[in-house]
């Protein structure tokens, strides 16, 4: 959790404001329908709740039903198409009709007219409680319905973005109906009845209050509702205070009234006590709520600060972009990689940072990412390039993570400059190639003079051994030995350099046959060592058969060569793991000290004097190079006097 930033979690969802609005519409509508039923079947309780209270007049009940239905539809205008538009129009028309009926009623009161709208639905006999004009909507009710009707019919009117007059109209209607409710609660007639005119029914006050709050909730992104719903400290303060303020005021007022009516308090005392207690209680409430908000806000600021320092301290470049593709945050590493200062970049579109030919398609990619934002690498293995301020392209690797902030979803990009890494890789590749070329040319050109030396020393030995003196024979012997050793070295150097350049394509190869061929070449060595060689079931793998034979030749001849005093046992086995086969060549020979496990695979590294074990130190280097070329891995497990196991992996042939 990062204070104002949350990773996205769609699992917890409170009932949406639209659901509350619909519930309010249902309440208002139901009250209206029950009242109409009361009029139809003359059930007094449905008209006025309790005997002796003001009635919900027929027009009032009708307006309540219309407002409730209108609110129900407008709360969630999901329907599109012709039918959807028609339903919306009907809902607005119903609201307008409510405002019209209520306005005409007010005109009747003001000008003393009789427009014939009062007895339109049901006749109201004279003598009903708190009724100045039989069947006519109460003036306070009419005023509230004018406001509510206008609010509902203009629910989506926005003279300026996020400014909604409907919210203020609904707020007014809520105020009038709340006064009515409080009047009934405190038994203060003036609050629901204007002078001696008809009074507002408690049913009407309830329906109006519900419908007004519902209208506010129906458009949660506008004016009043937006402030109360805001995630920031203001919104939190408003949400925390409102219920406490309402409850405390109601309770203090009620207590004062009770005390006054019982004769414990005079009017002046009552005002003084109420003002004092309201101030005291509000101070405490404000203190508690503000302190809580401040603590939350401090924690949020600290988290934000922590987030910024984490971004700043990251060894990678970090860049945050909002849903519109504008840069909102970047760290110093990003400034270094791209050459822009934060001031130059914040507010600009992220496409600024792309090479020209990539800009056009990027916006679509960005939108696609926002449809299903997941933490992932960008570019799926392609080479990514960013454009430095001075115009040159920088090779980069980019990881993307979605981050939800108060201002909506953002994307945090982690940028690594890989220009240097790519350059080093390229240098290494080139230097390897050059080394291979050098080894090839050197070994090739060395052969010519070596042949001369070797052949003529041999000719000397063949024709003159025993015909010169003993010293001459010995000298010839050393010269011959040197020439032969150099020949092997050069041959193997050549073989080593040819692994990469002259290899055949990898193809399904029966490794059992390859091992058999290697053992045929080693027949003499096997017999000489008195070795027993066991070969397990060997698979078909993806390999260059010639090179694979070199691998087995080298490993097997090593196993025979580095034997102990007893006749050696050599084992060749293979085992499958997922998509690779691991081959093992195990011997019970002299073994290797662990400190040499890496060195033995390096070119020209020898562990033994050449009198003990002849060799060039090239064999395992060639083996490793072949295994590398096949995308495999080679390693050794061994202990002195306990034998060695050389293992290497090769890709399996997919069966299907």
């Amino acid at each position: 959790m990062l204070g104002g930033m949350r990773t996205i979690d769609s699992s917890r969802r409170a009932p949406s404001p639209a659901s509350w609005a619909r519930l309010a519409g249902a309440v208002a509508g139901s009250i209206g329908i029950l009242a109409l039923a009361g009029w139809a079947f003359d059930v007094e309780a449905l008209k006025s709740a309790l005997p002796g209270l003001a009635q919900m007049k027929p027009n009032t009940a009708a307006c309540s039903v219309l407002s409730g239905a209108s609110l129900w539809v407008l709360a969630r205008p999901a329907a599109t198409g012709r039918a959807g538009r028609w339903t919306l129009t009907m809902a607005r028309a119903a609201a307008a009709l409510v405002a019209l009926i209520a306005a005409l009623t007010l005109l009747e009161y003001a000008l003393g007219w009789h427009l014939g709208i009062d007895p339109w639905l049901f006749r109201d006999e004279t003598g009903a409680p708190m009724t100045s004009n039989p069947g006519r909507m109460a003036p306070k009710t009419a005023a509230a319905f004018v406001l509510l009707g206008l609010a509902l019919s203009a629910l989506d009117w926005r003279p300026r973005p996020r400014t909604s007059p409907a919210q203020w109209l609904a707020f007014g209607a809520a105020g009038i109906s709340l006064a009515g409710l409080v009047g009934y609660l405190y038994s203060v007639t003036a609050l629901y009845r204007l002078a001696s005119f008809t009074g507002m029914s408690i049913l009407t006050a309830t329906a109006l209050f519900a419908a007004s709050l519902g209208s506010l909730a129906a458009r949660p992104d506008a004016s009043l509702s937006r402030v109360f719903r805001a995630a920031g400290p203001g919104g939190r303060l408003a949400r925390a205070s409102l219920p406490i303020v309402a409850a405390v005021t109601l309770a203090v007022g009620g207590l004062r009234l009770l005390a006054e009516r019982a004769g414990h308090l005079g009017a002046e005392e009552g005002v003084a006590v109420m003002v004092t207690s309201v101030i005291v209680v509000f101070t405490i409430v404000l203190y508690v709520v503000a302190a809580m908000t401040e603590r939350g806000e401090a924690a949020r600021r600290e988290a934000e600060q922590l987030f910024r320092s984490a971004v700043e301290a990251s060894p990678n470049g970090m860049l945050m972009v909002n849903a519109a593709g504008e840069v909102v945050l970047l760290n110093r590493q990003t400034e270094r990689i791209l050459g822009y200062s934060a001031g130059e970049l914040v507010g600009r579109r992220v496409e600024t940072l792309l090479p020209g030919h990539l800009r056009e398609g990027h916006e679509a990619l960005r939108q696609a990412y926002l449809v299903d934002p997941q933490r992932r690498q960008m570019g799926a293995g392609r080479d990514l390039r960013a454009r430095h301020k001075d115009g040159h392209e920088v090779q980069v690797e980019i990881g993307l993570s979605p981050v939800e902030r108060e201002s909506g979803i953002h994307v945090l990009a982690s940028i690594i400059d890989i220009t240097e890494r790519k350059r080093v890789e390229e240098d290494l590749r080139r230097s390897n190639e050059e080394l291979e070329r050098f080894a090839y040319v050197a070994s090739h050109d060395l052969q010519e003079p070596l042949r001369m030396v070797g052949s003529y020393v041999q000719l000397l030995a063949k024709r003159y051994r025993g015909r010169l003196d003993a010293d001459a024979d010995e000298f010839i012997g050393y010269a011959l030995d040197g020439a032969l050793r150099m020949r092997r070295l050069i041959e193997e150097l050549l073989a080593y350099s040819r692994v990469g350049t002259r290899g055949a394509a990898l193809r399904p190869t029966d490794s059992g046959e390859v091992v058999a061929a290697a053992l045929r070449s080693l027949k003499l060595a096997v017999e000489e060592a008195g070795a027993s060689v066991k070969v397990g079931r060997l698979p078909t793998v993806l390999a260059d058969p010639g090179q694979l034979e070199q691998v087995f030749l080298n490993l097997l001849s090593n196993a025979l060569k580095f034997r102990g005093s007893e006749a050696p046992t050599v084992e060749v086995t293979a085992e499958r793991q997922d998509r690779t086969w691991t081959f093992r060549v195990r011997d019970d020979g002299i073994g290797i000290e662990p400190e040499y496990f890496e060195r033995i695979f390096v070119i020209f590294q020898r562990l033994h004097g050449r009198n003990d074990f002849p060799g060039t130190g090239m064999g395992l280097a060639i083996v490793k190079k072949v295994v590398d070329r096949h995308g495999g891995r080679i390693w050794v497990e061994s202990a002195p006097a306990e034998g060695s196991t050389f293992s290497f992996t090769l890709p399996a042939v997919e069966e299907d």
């Binding site: 090839y440 070994s443 090739h444 052969q447 010519e448 070596l450 042949r451 001369m452 070797g454 052949s455 003529y456 041999q458 000719l459 063949k462 020439a483 032969l484 020949r487 050549l494 040819r498 002259r502």
Partner: protein, 146 residues
């Protein structure tokens, strides 16, 4: 088998500029079972003159076998091979190409020139003698062909 194995010596043209290799070939052929006359050309130009009996080689015999080194001055072995194999008078003469390494043979094969055989010059004498013997056998195989 062959009429020549017990009578007329076979004529061998060795195209080789390295005197060490020439001498070695001479020494090896001394031990050969088949009687032979070894002729030596020191470069590609001289080899073609010998084969076409041009200039000083007007009296040269037609060789029964050419041993051709690749790295030659003036005209190198690849060109000599090309000329022999595209000359209708010469294209039936068997040519054994002597290469310094297996790698050189790879390169040559990539040129799609058709030598009758490739032999890598061995570094040790015993193997060289074997090569000469195998060339002998090879030649005997050739003349046995109908």
């Amino acid at each position: 088998v062959s009429i020549r194995s017990n009578g007329v010596p076979i004529e061998i043209l060795l195209v080789e500029d390295n005197p060490g290799d020439v001498r070695l070939t001479v020494e090896a052929l001394k031990e050969a079972k088949v009687r032979n006359n070894l002729h030596v050309a020191k470069d590609g130009v001289e080899a073609m003159e010998f084969l076409r009996r041009a200039g000083a080689h007007a009296e040269a015999p037609r060789p029964d076998l050419v041993l051709l080194d690749l790295n030659l001055p003036r005209k190198d072995g690849r060109e000599v091979l090309q000329e022999i194999k595209t000359d209708p008078d010469l294209d039936l003469i068997p040519v054994v190409v002597l290469t310094t390494s297996q790698a050189e043979q790879d390169v040559l094969e990539s040129y799609q020139l058709h030598a009758n055989a490739y032999v890598t010059k061995p570094v040790d004498l015993e193997r060289f003698l074997q090569v000469v013997r195998s060339i002998e056998n090879f030649w005997l195989e050739i003349v046995r062909l109908p």
